[in-house]
Each structure stands twice: as structure tokens, then as C-alpha cells.
């Protein structure tokens, strides 16, 4: 009897849809909080404005030192003629930490051979842009004078 099969079919479709809607809603109700949970909350640490990079007297000409600038490394360089310069030590290519090469007086990233000059500009290699430059001040006098690095 064709007239009897139609309502049955409709009921089945209705129930299937209801069931599928229920399952999909459950999945969404689980997926939403989980996806929010996966995103780490913004760190409570405020962006660092300045940091002490060590004693001025301990840094000889044509040498450099790594220091902590907030949660990231910075590098302070004393050039051959005695000038102090500071940069973010985070290579702009893939976040490796750069080092000072005394023989060529350049900043070098060991990961992919990125080379920067002492102005922070890219000389060769893959880095897309220069290192972030910081402002250097010397606080105090004599042997105890501190190198203070601040974001410009």
C-alpha cells in the first residue's frame, strides 16, 4: 500500500535528522571549549622597556655579550673603536639567537648562515630584515658603570 509507506519514510527522515542534529550539537559543544582551551592565555609579563646588560668595564672592544631582554635574548656589542651598540639577538629568519663574530666584526646566525653588520642590517643569508635596534646608555661611573639597554 503506497499510501502507508510515505508517512513511515517521513518519520524516519525526521528522526534521523533529529538524531544527527543532536550528535552534531554535542560535537560542537565539546569542540568550542576545547579549541579555546588550546589557545594559551596572553602571558602576564608586560613588554619589557629596558634591561641591564651587564658592566660596561667587562666588555672589551671587538666583543659582545648576550643578555636577557624580558623573555628574549639581546646582544650588546662593543665595536673595535669602543662604541656600544645593542640589538635584539633574535634572528629575523627563524628565531635563532645570533652571535658576534670577532674576526669579521659581524653578527652571525649559526642556524642558516644569516649575517648582519654592526648596524643590524642584513649582509647575506636568508634573514628578511635587520635586527631590532635598542638604545644603549651607560649608568654610573668607573668600573661599576652599567650598560642600560632600552627599546627605542
Amino acid at each position: 500500500m503506497p499510501s502507508d509507506t510515505r508517512p513511515d519514510f517521513d518519520r524516519r527522515t525526521f528522526l534521523d535528522t533529529l538524531l544527527a542534529t543532536g550528535f552534531v550539537s554535542t560535537a560542537l559543544a565539546v569542540a568550542y571549549p576545547v579549541s579555546r582551551f588550546l589557545i594559551p592565555p596572553a602571558s602576564g609579563e608586560p613588554a619589557t622597556a629596558s634591561a641591564v646588560a651587564g658592566r660596561a668595564s667587562s666588555l672589551r672592544p671587538n666583543s659582545a655579550a648576550i643578555f636577557k631582554f624580558g623573555s628574549k635574548p639581546g646582544i650588546v656589542v662593543r665595536t673595535a673603536d669602543g662604541e656600544l651598540r645593542a640589538f635584539s639577538a633574535v634572528c629575523t629568519h627563524l628565531d635563532c639567537t645570533v652571535q658576534f663574530k670577532a674576526d669579521t666584526s659581524q653578527l652571525w646566525c649559526a642556524c642558516h648562515n644569516g649575517m648582519y653588520d654592526l648596524g643590524g642590517n642584513v649582509v647575506s643569508g636568508p634573514p628578511p630584515r635587520g635586527l631590532e635596534k635598542f638604545t644603549v646608555n651607560v649608568r654610573g661611573e668607573g668600573d661599576d658603570a652599567e650598560i642600560v639597554v632600552s627599546r627605542t
Partner: protein, 359 residues
Amino acid sequence: MIREVIAWLDDRLDLTDVRHFVAEKGVPVHAQKVWYYLGGMTLFLLAVQIFTGILLLLYYRPSAAEAYESVQFIVTQVQFGWLIRNIHSWSANLLIGLAFAHFFSVFFLKSYRKPRELTWVSGIFLLFLMLGFGFSGYLLPWNELSFFATKVGTGIAGAVPTVGHFTLRLLRGGDDVTGATLSRFYGLHVAILPAVTTALVALHLLFVQRQGMSVPLGVERRLKPGERLRQMPFFPNYILREVLAWYVVLAVLAALAAFYPWELGTKADPFAVVPPGIRPEWYFLAMFHTLKLLPSHILGFEGERIGVVAFGLIALFLVLVPFLDRRASRGESSPMFTTLALVGLLYLVSFTIIGHYAK
């Protein structure tokens, strides 16, 4: 779409066996079939535990200096962290409650009788593992209550004759409960226990699939010779009912997690005085209270030692139940084991309640 994917897979992997299994798997229909749902509900909560546990691992730090702070961070800073942590805590308790209910239903229905002895044995070990999960997980937030409860709990392990001191040092990672204990309990909770549990659950389910559902002794005995019980197809009839049960569990879990947040308490301080009313989680209360009631010496032996040995013997007895209950294995009714199960149930319930209200 789904049909096409299945056809594609069938073409390559030959799913004939799977199709036969899906089509033929049945569940016996009788008055006591409601008990069949408990195992599946416990399994569902185990999945919830694994899922939320993995999520908590993203932020939790297992060290005495950072554990408490990291849990605090999860429940206050991470979005929905409070929800994930509350669900993990509540689900753990519901899981152990359901596992006990599953255990007693199988005990009373004598489903452990031949040929399902090994299913029972694997199940008993899973129950012990769940208690191990509860005990090790309780310490991880490194709060005052869990710190002292772990001191007492591992101290009880120290009362085991001859191997006691060795076990205590093995559990604590030293003579005292310290950060070393936390590291051990963490490793136990997230690596060792899950590995063993996964293997045992797989075995437990394999046994159930191979043998099908057990029919209660009483129902089986009432069958006329040659008569067979009506079967319900597992797919989709039974599984949809099971999913409904899971939804009920999920609803209860979500309500508990949303309205009754799990306390974090204060950070553990090894040099603080023990706060009054220190007691373990409810599922250890009966055992805890029993040990409290024992006199300090029984027949010249330390009371605690006698208690611990007795619990060990009870555990051994539970493992051996299907081999000891000869009558049930022969298909005869065995009132003695029904009585034992009843006594066990009454003991657990009454001592848990008394332990809860005792000073």
C-alpha cells in the same frame, strides 16, 4: 557518501569479517539487561578521562614548586580551564563509582562463571588500576589535603610485612613525601597506568566480543530445554541505547562540573601541621576507617599490619572468585557467593558513610 567510503575501503581491505560481525552481533533481551549498560558507561568515562587528561597536560607542571600554581593557572587563566579540570575531577569519581557498580552487578549476576573467568580477572585488575589512578591523581594538584592523604596512604603501604619499607620508599621516591613523590606519581598517572590500562581494556573488550554477553544464571535456569533468548541487534539497536546512557552520564558530569567546582585548597606545606578532618577520597574511606578502628595490637601483631594483610587477602579472593565459585561454574545457583557479595556491598557502603561522618 559514507556508503562510498565503505565501498572504497571494502574494495581494498575486504571488510567481510567486519560486516558479518556488525550484522550478527546481538545482545540477549531479558529483565536484567539494564546491567549491561554499566560497563559501557564506565568505558565512556574512561574516554572522557583520557581526553581531558591530555588537555590538562598542556598546562600542568609536575614539580613541587609549580604544580599547585599551574593548576591555579589552569582554573583561573586558561579559557575553559576550570571546565576541563572540573570534568576531569568529577569524571574520575563517577568513573570509580560506576566501575564499582559494574563490579557488583557482575558479582551478583554470577557473570564471571565459566567461560568468563578471565574477563572477570581482567576486570578486577582494571578496578585496582582505577583506584591507582585515583590515588596518584589526587596528589598532582599538590594541595594540603592531597599531600597529607598521600602521606597516610603511602604510610599504609609501609605497613605491609617484609616488603613494606621497600614499597614505601619506592612509592615516595625517598623516605618522605616530597617533590620526588610528585614526579613519581605523575609518571605513574600519565604513562604507566594508562599504558597498562589500555592493554587490559583491550583484552577485557576482546573477551566480551569473543564470548558475547553473559546471561544471568537465574534467567538461564528458567529457560526450557532448547529455548533461546530473544536477541537485540547490537548495531544499531543496542548501541543507540548505550549512547543514550552516555548522554545521561555526560549531562550529570556537565552539571556537576558547572555547579560544583572542585576545590583546589591551599598549597601543600610539608612543615605545616596536619589540618583536622584529613581523609582520603571517598572510595578509600571504608578501608581508611577500618584501619582506624583496629586496636594497636592484635594477638601480638601490629593492628595496622593485620589490616593491610587482610585487605591483600580480600583482593586475592576477588581475583579468584570465578575459580572458587564451583557451583556457579556448573550452572547451579550459589547463594553463598551472593551472600558474600551482599556482605561486601553492605560493608563498603556502611563504612564509607561512617568514615565520612567519623571524627
